[in-house]
């Protein structure tokens, strides 16, 4: 599961930020999961818990929010939402591994252009790290 690698990146970053900000303890990590990457939240949460345990980090609240994916066409300016059911299984899985495969497997539903922007909801990011100074 490649969710594990992304979960590891979250915890590694949180620890780095805590060290940089001289936090005595990390209390909460807020994570945004972009809809486009189709992360399995259960697997992701399990991976986060396991990695935290392996690093002897306890009592950290993990808050996960999913952000809907929105696209805007660079040609006709049409905006639209992610519709996974319009993709076949292999296309959706490719986007799960590499969200930019959206530019390979999707087109603007209004004008057919392959040139569009992911306005929001691309992938995994940390929105906030809270801790005790």
């Amino acid at each position: 599961m490649h969710e594990w690698a992304l979960a590891e990146s979250i915890i590694t970053t949180a620890v780095e930020v805590a060290e940089r900000e001289k936090l005595k303890k990390i209390e909460e990590i807020d994570i945004s999961l972009g809809e486009l990457q189709q992360i399995e939240e259960d697997i992701f949460r399990f991976a986060l818990d396991e990695i935290l345990k392996s690093m002897n980090l306890r009592n950290i609240k993990i808050v996960i929010e999913t952000e809907n994916a929105v696209f805007e066409c660079n040609k006709c300016k049409h905006t639209w939402n992610f519709e996974k059911d319009k993709l076949d299984e292999a296309e959706a899985e490719a986007i799960h591994f590499l969200p930019e495969m959206a530019f390979v497997h999707m087109r603007c539903p209004s004008c057919g252009s392959p040139d569009f922007t992911v306005i929001k909801g691309r992938g995994v990011s940390i929105t906030s790290i809270k801790g005790e100074k």
Binding site: T12, E16, E100, I126
Partner: protein, 242 residues
Amino acid sequence: MVDPRLSVIKKRLKDINNIIAVASGKGGVGKSMVSSLLALHLASQDKKVGLLDLDVYGPSTHIILGIPFQKFPEEDRGIIPPVFHGIKFMSIVFYSEDKPGAFRGIDVSNIIRELLAITQWGSLDYLIIDLPPGIGDETLDVINLIQPTEFLIVSTPSKVAMGAVEKLIDLLLELHLPIIGVVENMKIGDSNYVKQIVTSKDVRYLGSIQFVPALEEAIGDSSKLLKTPFIKDLERIIKKSL
């Protein structure tokens, strides 16, 4: 918002002894051929080798090495690069089905960051990175995210190619980045033009690879590639530079 991928990239590359980016200022000079055959040759010498194709608009190392791309690589706490001809191989072609992608700069950076963050290379003697031409997002991301990377620069005898290659050399020198040297590919005749320019910049001229019209027939067949005069010239260059 913090991009968490950046913090694990170092971790993913920590067990790699040498990272070599094959670069050029100009397209069509044979970077992918040098990258692929360098990886193939090192693997044939029982070295642990990885090959990362970062030419996201026109990946071609899978074509040169005859690598099938119809199956997604396996997952185990990340993506495990599949092994072909003894080379751990990673390219967006596994996910793009070799179809075109209209990527803008930010998208290219995202692809590179994602691939570097999720690919589990394990322990390697060499990771060869095939870069696209120029000094664009891919080259800049490699400079910023993968340290230390050594640059192996490819040119042809053409003055047009060298015009662009010189700019890449100058930038790498300005940034004090390690340059292994310059390979002159598709050599015809005995002009010293490339050698003179390269040595005038205190960069090593590593030698030339003769133009081999029959090379095209070996593309896609690793055992034929290993028998071409191209690999003989490349071996000579590797012996004195790696």
